[in-house]
Every structure is written in C-alpha cells, then in structure tokens.
Symmetry: C2
Subunit: 142 residues, 2 copies
C-alpha cells in the first residue's frame, strides 16, 4: 500500500482504513464541542474505535493498564461524541465531545493545564486553567 | 520515577520533563489559534521541542522521513506558535498556532477533512471542510 495509488486512496478515498501502529493503536485527540479546548490525547485500538462508534461515547485503550477503557467508567465523567474525524494518513482521530465533569484524572477539565514557557533559566511550566473540577482522591477512591 | 512522589512531581510540578516514548518522541496536537480547529497531529523529539521554543515556529520530527522538519520549510506554510501547553503525564504537547496557508500536505487547511460515519454497510468517511487551499502538485513540485 505504499504505492502512489495506495496513498491516494488513503488520503483521498472514503474507505475507513485506520493505520494502526505496531501496538495496534491510533492517536485520538478529544476536544470540547462547546469551548473547542483540547481536553486530552489518548489512544484507540480497533475495538475502542468500534465501541466508540457503536455507543456514541468515547472508549480508549490504555497503554499503561494494557486494557480497553470506557472514558468515565470509574469517575462518571463520560464523553458523548458529537463528531468523529479521521486525518489524512488515517493514523489519528479527532473527536469533538460533550464532556461530563472533567477529562483529566487529576481533576482538571483538560489535561493541558500547564503552559510551557521559555525562561532565562531554561524551560519551565506554569499553571493555566488549572482549577480542579473534582477531587481525584474522592472520585478514584478504592 | 514510577513512585507516587515521582508521578505527583510530573503531574503537579512545574519542571519541564517531557516523557519521550521508545522512539524519543512525544505527540503534538496543533490547533488554529483563531478558529480552534484541530489542524494536525504530529510528533516532536527533544530537538524539535527546543527549536520550537527558541524560534516560536513549529518544528516536528517526521517518523516516515526519519528527520527533523520545520513546518512549512517546503510549502511556506509555517506555524507561528501562540501558546504551548503540556499534558498531565508530560507525553503530549498542545500548540495553538497562527497557520500560514494550510496545515495539510494534501492542500487542506486541516488534516481532519473527513468525518467518520456509522452506516448500515459499515463505517465510512465523508468529506467535510475539505476544500483545497493550495494545489499540492504545484507546491511540492521537485
């Protein structure tokens, strides 16, 4: 499929043919359908994609836990999918979601709660939009 | 660093310590600073991050070409970085950019020009926001 016609088909065609990496995953970016902010970046395997499409709620594959994962299954902070898009080479998916509660396991609305700043003493992070929406200790208590 | 204090430091600290994968990369999502649409998903290695911070323009690492890549070096479609953010576990970066021309090598403004739809005959793609801003044959002509 690395012929020119193969590439054209992947980029210009309408066949759904995700290009999974060696671990069987594609990258998925979830943005808030209302505010458009990026909520999180995660991964989906074939089953996560299938379940997301079938249920209308986001499912991911956790590389650290090595398991399929319905977003919000523990916290209740589910993501209802408003739109799902594929990128040019079909190895990344963008979902626009209605986020219940917060996307980040740290309790913030988005996982991207720190800005990267160039400073005299080197690169540093600073908190921005970092208010906690929920207390992770209470939500993820065993 | 997989101790609880290590995780807390990565998630709640202000030290910039990107968690590179086995290939030395982190995922980077670029969104349009004006429209907030997702333009592309790509990767950065340590050098790409450093050059992006130093120059204020997006640099990436191309996995297919195995080389550092200044966005727009061939097409002129550079990305001026307005803000750069790190995610909770420091393995993904979100940049908000002012995009010259178009982000996608196919000529579209965004790489995400196809919607994923569930159909009776299975999952299909359909074009959306897929107008070409430039002619890739003209821009990338050798």
């Amino acid at each position: 499929m690395s012929t020119l016609s193969g590439i054209n088909d992947i980029e210009e065609g309408l066949a759904f043919q995700p290009k999974f990496d060696a671990a069987g995953l594609v990258t998925c970016v979830a943005t808030d359908a209302t505010t458009s902010e990026v909520l999180m970046v995660a991964h989906m395997n074939e089953e996560a994609i299938r379940k997301t499409i079938a249920s209308g709620e986001a499912w991911y594959y956790s590389r650290s836990r090595k398991s399929l994962w319905r977003k919000g299954e523990t916290s209740g902070h589910v993501q209802r999918v408003v739109e799902m898009r594929m990128d040019c080479d079909q190895d990344a998916i963008w979902i626009r979601v209605e986020q219940s509660g917060a996307a980040c396991h740290t309790g913030r609305r988005s996982c991207f709660y720190r800005r990267i700043d160039a400073g005299e003493g080197g690169t540093r992070l600073s908190f921005v939009d970092a208010d906690k929406v929920f207390d992770p200790k209470a939500v993820y208590r065993k």
